[in-house]
Amino acid sequence: MTNVGMIGLGKMGRFHMMNCLQIDDIDVVAAADPSEKALIKGKSAGVNDLYVDYHDLLNHSSKIDAVIISLPNFLHFESIQLALEAGLNVFVEKPMANTVEECREIVKLVEKSGRKLMVGHCMRFIDAIEKMKTMKDKGHIGDLEVVTLEMLLNGPFGLGFVPTPVPEWWFDPKKSGGGVLIDMGYHLIDLFRFFIGGDCKIEFCCLDHKFYLPMEDGAIVILRSCDSSAKGIINTGWFQKSVFPGFNFRAILHGNAGYLSSEDLVPRNVYVHAIKEGTKNLLRKAIGKKIRTLSYSYYYTQYYKELQHFFDCVKHDSNLSVSATDGLKTIELIEEAYKTDSRREQ
């Protein structure tokens, strides 16, 4: 049994907690959040040790094997540092930290501690993305030449079914680390690295400020592989009004022998998909089989799958597919993109 502590029980933290409870041999034994309402939700999910301050959770961590950190971006560095010092394995929401220096420090700490740290590069776990990567690696499209990645949503400004204010830290670039590039662009840059399977550099970056905020709300970035002729074109923005279940995301891999598009691999109709997968799960339940968590939702399965992978690696002491180094490299590229844009502006 792997005992887990939740650091942060906001929406993402609660989602991770509910997913953990679905994974075999995982027990969520502790949770920390300054919000009383969040702790009540933790209690009702069966978590016994509840703390207002996550430092207290780490001070009482003798029976905890791993923590899941879902705090605001600016608190990632300190919480990772303390969790590793406490000898715990760590799963942290992206970004790993807000600056390259902090990320480098974390990579060193992970090596020194001998513990596992996985960053939530969840989009690698989308079924369509996994299929595209496998097909590309098998040579189905020849040599990869151009990758186009698009994600345009309201991001943190998305309005849920029950309206709640956007957390204030999102409006402060010192706390958030930046704008759409560190939020959604982060995933797209990571996906480019994932598809090319190596390092890359920034060729061009153009940031936009449609909302007059101190951080960017739109970004076009061009990346180039360091080992091949593959280039990546990234288009992301917070400026588009998004309404659930709409998800304006697509990835296209163009090779010299053909192309692969995520739009050909995702369900054409999310409602039909939900009914189909939901019915399958009901049948599985009826005959006493394990259900496929969140399969009805298609895109949300990625969050369950990334945690499943993390706990598998912790349990079997195997290598993580997303390491602290991936977290560092993505932040290095984002910092380079910011510099490229400001050089272009000058």
């Binding site: 309005l159 259900i291 949300y300």
Partner: protein
Amino acid sequence: MGSVVSLVRTRVSEEKIKNSIAEALDLINFRPTNPVSCVSIKVNLCYYWNAATGQTTDPRIVAGIVDNLRERYGRDIDIRVVEADASAMRTRHAFLMLGYEKLAKEKNVELFNLSKDDVDEKRVHVNGREIVFKIPRSLLKSDLFINVPKLKIWRPTKITCALKNIFGCIASSRKIAYHQFLDEAIVGINKILHPNLTIVDGLVALGRFPVQLGLIMASTDPFSIDWVASQIMGYNPSKIRFLRIAMKEKLGNPRGITTCGENPSMFKEDFPKANLSSSKMLMDIQIRLLRLYATLTRDVIPPWLEET
């Protein structure tokens, strides 16, 4: 004598908008009797969605109103653009993100968050229900109170325009607390606050999707505006519940409403009507099915859906 609603078709350029607003005001013969030195303009900034989505008041309309006011009442009048926090929206961020800070600098107007104002607690009875509102005090002191709503559909009330925009003046941000008796609350707040003038921003209207309608409407009677607006949006106004309650509470009377300027049917043709009752029903069914499914299978519901 009934109320007059003017309709003017405009084009998206600052000068054209300004002239169209002047035309809309002339058509209703708008001439306030009191001297005007302090004006409050209530916009609709429901969320951080740009005016092109049809959800929020276009700053160019406000710029046109400001220019008209200065021409009519002198350059020295104090003009404040006002909005209050909502359950998910914070006014200070909306002013910045939707271009109002830029407008304030260019047009020398003040931006004011009604949620930060001193409040008076007022009680009203609507449809047999007592409702308590926190009313921003400064609104009651304006010489001229201008309501600048959007023309859009909204699932809970079918349409949202003049009367609903006044609901946005309530100082408390947790307006969702009123949603269980929303129709009564809309009528209740309008029994307390009475804008002297309503100018509807229909540059981009929102139906099934946003549409560049290029419409400006004006009237001194918000009820009449909503009556005509609901017809443009393809609804029978007598079937809009808050309008029926408003009639019962003597806030307005459809008899004798006259329109001048453009014919409303011209705009009705271009408006993308939506079938809200079926979409609301479908949404309710989806949520119920999801809850039932989760109960039976113990599967996870993402928190942003779970909280409905």
